[in-house]
């Protein structure tokens, strides 16, 4: 369902420049309102000859924006202001070049005082789930990462070689031999002593045991049992003693083994220390000026020494691969020593103030994310899987975001605010921030943040945010408000021409000749809904130029002319006009009843604007009024049927105030009136029909027929003055199209508020019909002006306290109301002057 948008409020009236409106009547005080406006007053045209060029090819494309001084000042202020909470919200309608302008300005406004930094994440050897963030001067992170890969590569070759080398092996063997010899000698000694006593020491599956022996063989138990008791006891005693010795001997092994291991470790450490020092020499020298990098390298060296085994791998593989190390960066064993370049690793990363635009500001894209890899059904991660977000890339620079997309991304807005407030980028799983359970993951060290955030959005969003979120106003203190129109001056007309030249250049289009530019300027005024202004919605202007270029290309010409622009505009309207045509058809076929000839009492043609997507069109609607004696009430049927909006009701109440104030000063208003938009089923809002409704009531009260050749738009105040409304051009054109379809006879026309004359930028066919006297447009300042045009009779003016002149419309209205009051009194519904 769509609403009849009646009387949407026009933009704030601008002073009309002198000699702009070439109308028969140009001032409500000095002119006869009954005369229609001249054709020249209906459209402010541009004389192509005055533009001073033949085609846009002669023009210098415009560099920047036109007519956005206020916004540009705000951008400059926001960009220069160093405080972290003076972020910007650039607001304005879409396609006004906001983003382009901000980027262009920021590109000039680099901040050499705060050079950007590179950031890396490295392993925290003390707590691997808390990677350390290291800041480096711009451009030095990548070298660090490469340096570490080289160092590891070198160690993979040198460490095994050193540990296989004669020096190490000889010393190692010495240590092991010392241990083994001592151990074996002790065991061998025990063995020999046992053998000397004819006792065998045997290895069992889980230890040692001793048994009597004879001539190198274990004595069979049954043979042994036949020995004399004292002999057996002697053997048992010997075994007991030897067994105790064995126990003592074996118990010493772990201790001596520990000593052996310590000695071996010390030896390995000595070799590894030399190797790691040599491998890391280059990196340490390159970063000698950065103490925190030195600290990390020292920790790395210590870890490498502790984990020498990592570099040895499988002994068999070592032999084969010792001179051809595989890709270190892909080898899981060495990930702990690598460097994750978060910022500064991409070819596009340059040492200039970053200006980053994140077109998809999800939580992860903004704050960064911790990725995982699936391995044997488990999700694993480490510091190398920490990925940068837009905040990291924009650190010490500017971050440009679309506010609506940001707000629509779960958790992103809150995360951005937290980061700005804390001045830290803390990468968390979004589920952590809302207290949901999460798998064990990393807790990377936060990174200091110094960024200027620039949000882009429309005004509605800005004001909603300001109202709904207290943080917003605290953190986004600079609003850069982009206007969608500029005042139309000769200078701005020329600037507009250069803007068109920019569009032509940017999109590589055919040049536009002066007539085409003139037509585009006129269309700019039409888009602005104001003949005194020009729309600077670059996107829409660009659409028209590109469509015109298409038609030129189709026809094989070289230059875009006025006709091409007009065709582009009309084709665009035509493509979106299916519903408009259906509505028009239903009127033409008499399904929706609208009279465009003749006279009727209490019936008038109102005008509404129907907005469908990017297009809007005017449509006539029959308004009728019935009056009778009553209790002083106007029944707004739309309101009663819940089809009327609050603004429409307000308009009805105002006209009631007008009736009472003008005609019922000394009698009760014993009137009951009903007002309705006939055949309207979709709802009505706005007050632009209030003057039409008043005409219908006055017609009904005065029994004076209204001309049906006219349609009326305009709101009215309690003094009977007709006030400006929105969509005046569409409304006029809507009624013109209807009349045109039925045949223009010169009597048809539209009554508009006088204050809307400055907004007139009517279609060329409407202007032509007016010029030929086939259609009329009257600008009225008061209800009386309109009444006289609609009825052809004198409205009548009261002089002082005197009555209206007889036989005037106002006199007849007053008489009818007095009659109602008398009848009401006779019916007893009026007591003591009040209606009961």
């Amino acid at each position: 369902m769509f609403k009849w948008a009646k009387g949407s409020h026009p933009s704030k009236p601008q002073p009309t420049s002198s000699a702009k409106i070439a109308a028969t009547s140009i001032s409500p005080d000095s002119t006869d309102m009954r005369l229609p406006l001249s054709a020249a007053a209906l459209r402010r045209t541009v004389d192509a000859g005055t533009l001073g060029f033949k085609t846009t090819a002669e023009l210098e494309p415009i560099d920047g924006l036109i007519g956005q001084d206020r916004a540009l000042r705000a951008i400059k202020f926001g960009a220069d202001m160093k405080a972290h909470d003076f972020n910007m919200f650039v607001l304005g309608p879409p396609s006004t070049g906001k983003s382009t302008a901000v980027k262009a300005y920021l590109a000039q406004k680099l901040r050499p005082d705060i050079p950007p930094s590179d950031w890396v994440y490295v392993n925290n050897y003390e707590a691997s789930n808390q990677p350390r963030a290291l800041e480096l001067p711009c451009g030095r992170a990548k070298e660090l990462a490469q340096g570490m890969i080289k160092a590891v590569d070198e160690l993979r070759v040198t460490l095994p070689a050193l540990l296989e080398g004669d020096d190490y092996q000889t010393r190692k063997r010495s240590i092991e031999e010392a241990f083994r010899t001592g151990q074996e000698a002790a065991l061998e000694g025990l063995n020999r002593r046992a053998q000397a006593q004819n006792i065998a020491v045997l290895r069992t599956p889980t230890g040692f045991a001793m048994a009597p022996m004879l001539e190198g063989k274990i004595v069979k138990p049954e043979v042994f049992m036949q020995l004399p008791d004292d002999m057996r006891r002697g053997v048992e005693a010997k075994i007991g003693v030897l067994q105790t010795e064995l126990e003592t001997l074996l118990a010493k092994i772990p201790k001596s083994d520990k000593e052996r291991r310590l000695k071996l470790n010390a030896l390995t450490d000595e070799i590894a220390t030399t190797a790691t020092r040599e491998a890391l020499d280059d990196v340490e020298a390159a970063y000698a000026d950065l103490p925190h990098i030195q600290t990390h390298l020292t920790a790395t060296r210590a870890d490498m020494i502790r984990n020498v085994a990592l570099f040895l791998g499988d002994g068999e593989e070592d032999t084969a691969t010792v001179n051809q190390p595989a890709d270190t960066s892909r080898d899981a064993r060495y990930r702990r020593y690598l460097v994750n370049v978060l910022v500064g690793g991409q070819p596009t990363d340059v040492c200039e103030t970053p200006i980053v635009e994140e077109i998809n500001p999800t939580y992860g894209n903004l704050i960064g994310r911790i990725e995982h890899v699936a391995q044997m059904g488990n999700m694993l991660t480490d510091f190398l899987l920490v990925k940068a977000g837009a905040l990291h890339r924009a650190n010490r620079g500017y971050l440009l975001l679309d506010a609506r997309k940001l707000l629509m991304s779960p958790y992103a807005w809150e995360a951005l605010k937290r980061a700005i407030k804390a001045r830290l980028i803390r990468i968390e799983q979004p589920t952590e921030t809302v207290g949901m359970m999460t798998a064990q993951t990393l807790d990377p060290e936060p990174i200091a943040l110094n960024v200027k955030v620039v949000l882009f959005g429309d005004r509605e969003l800005y004001y909603q945010l300001a109202q709904a979120d207290p943080d917003f106003s605290r953190l986004f203190k600079v609003q850069a408000d982009f206007d969608d129109v500029i005042i139309r001056t000769t200078e701005n007309d020329h600037a507009y021409a250069r803007l068109i030249a920019s569009i032509v250049t940017e999109h590589k289009l055919h040049a536009v000749d002066a007539s085409g530019v003139a037509r585009l300027i006129e269309e700019g005024a039409r888009l602005a809904d104001d003949r005194e202004k020009l729309s600077i919605e670059i996107g829409r202007l660009s659409d028209i130029v590109r469509e015109a270029d298409y038609w030129v290309t189709v026809e094989g010409r070289d230059v875009i002319t006025r006709a091409d622009v007009s065709k582009a505009v009309m084709e665009a309207i035509d493509r979106a006009s299916r519903l408009r045509d259906r509505a028009q058809e239903s009127i033409e076929r008499g399904i929706v009843m609208i009279d465009t000839t003749g006279e009727k009492i209490g019936q008038i043609n109102g005008l509404a604007v129907l907005q469908l997507g990017t297009t809007s069109f005017g449509r006539a609607s029959r308004i009728t009024a019935r009056v009778r004696m009553g209790q002083g009430r106007v029944t707004d049927i739309e309101r009663e049927a819940n089809l009327g909006g609050s603004l429409h009701s307000k308009g009805v109440m105002i006209l009631w105030g007008f009736l009472a104030g003008r005609y019922a000063q000394d009698v009760p208003l014993a009137l009951a009136a009903t007002l309705v938009f006939e055949q309207s089923y979709g709802g009505v809002d706005g007050d632009s029909a209030s003057s039409a409704e008043l005409y219908a009531i006055l017609s009904a009260l005065s029994d004076t027929p209204l001309s049906q050749s006219f349609a009326v738009t305009g709101s009215v105040n309690q003094w009977g003055e007709v006030q400006a409304i929105g969509g005046v051009n569409e409304k006029i054109e809507g009624f013109f199209d209807l009349c045109s379809a039925r045949g223009l006879d010169g009597t048809q026309g539209v009554l508009i508020p006088y204050s809307n004359v400055q907004h007139l930028m009517l279609r060329e066919d409407v202007v032509a019909a007016v010029a030929e006297g086939k259609f009329r447009i009257h600008a009225v300042a008061s209800i009386d002006d309109g009444l006289e045009i609609l009825t052809g009779k004198t409205a009548g003016t009261r002089t002082g306290d005197a009555a209206f002149p007889p036989d005037t419309i106002n006199a007849r209205v007053e008489d009818k109301l007095r009659l109602f009051a008398q009848r009401a009194k006779a019916f007893g519904t009026i007591k003591d002057g009040a209606i009961s």
Partner: protein
């Protein structure tokens, strides 16, 4: 001399792997599998439940001292048998896994006997072209056992040993040459072992003087075919002790060493600890 190891199709010999305890070395198992692969043979896994260990239970006074010396316990026959069975399961699993990955067939045999006799019987069953692999690392006093084994087990063409430092089976196959007559057999075995691998074959001439070394070198080169890829390395030592020889050979990073029992490299009836300390690969011994 290593002249032959039976192929699987001959059904007249095996690579017999003898294990008696949990000290069995993985390198010994790997060596067995490599030999079986190289000679397209099969493995006969022989696990010996030493009857002497089981008999210990019948001495009422015998107690077992744990390996760490911290506890002692009574020995029972059933307990010993159970532990031997468990030990066997673990060992067999290790060997089977290695054999399966190399697509080598394996047959199992568990006997309760004296280790030497069990090996003799098994080799006689499988022989005559068996190659025996002793799974437990040899030690300083293993010389006598090796000698006894080579003397008593007739149905074998060689014996494979590993030392306590053994750590690889890949790398060059080194022939420790002390007697030119042994060269053809060693070469055949060496060529078989390096077949289908990129390993080098090195002849290390071991002699106590230059004349002997030069003589051996000359005859070796005459024996080798033209354009042979076999490298010849001369190891001449003034005092050719087993320790010095072992160190010289270690530097060649062998993946397999082939030597003759009773020579300079593996002297008969001597302390084998120098060799045990320096040998990092399996040793294939011929008589």
């Amino acid at each position: 001399m290593i002249a032959h190891v039976a192929e699987a199709s001959e059904a007249r010999g095996r690579v017999v792997v003898r294990t008696t305890s949990a000290r069995a070395s993985d390198i010994a198992f790997q060596a067995a599998v490599r030999i079986a692969q190289a000679f397209r043979s099969e493995i006969e896994s022989l696990y010996v439940e030493d009857t002497e260990l089981i008999a210990l239970a019948r001495f009422p006074f015998v107690r077992e001292v744990s390996a760490d010396g911290r506890s002692t316990r009574e020995v029972t026959a059933n307990g010993t048998i159970d532990e031997l069975r468990l030990q066997y399961s673990g060992l067999q699993r290790r060997l089977s896994r290695l054999a399966a990955s190399a697509q080598v067939s394996i047959r199992e045999r568990v006997v309760r006997d004296e280790p030497l006799r069990a090996l003799t019987v098994t080799c006689a069953d499988c022989g005559p072209w068996n190659l025996v692999v002793l799974a437990e690392p040899f030690g300083a006093s293993s010389g006598e056992e090796i000698a006894a084994l080579l003397d008593n087990v007739h149905d074998t063409t060689g014996l494979v040993l590993v030392g306590p430092r053994a750590k690889r089976t890949t790398g060059a196959v080194v022939l420790a040459l002390e007697d030119i007559e042994a060269l053809p057999g060693m070469l055949r075995a060496g060529h078989n072992l390096i077949a289908d691998t990129e390993a080098a074959l090195i002849i290390a001439i071991i002699a106590s003087d230059y004349d002997t070394a030069n003589w051996l070198d000359a005859h070796t080169r005459l024996t080798l075919p033209e354009n042979s890829n076999v490298k010849v390395s001369i190891l001449t030592l003034a005092h050719p002790t087993p320790a010095a020889i072992a160190e010289g050979l270690r530097k060649l990073l062998p993946g397999f060493l082939i030597a003759r029992f009773g020579g300079l490299t593996v002297p008969a009836g001597e302390d084998l600890s120098p060799l045990a300390a320096g040998l990092e690969c399996p040793l294939l011994l011929s008589r």
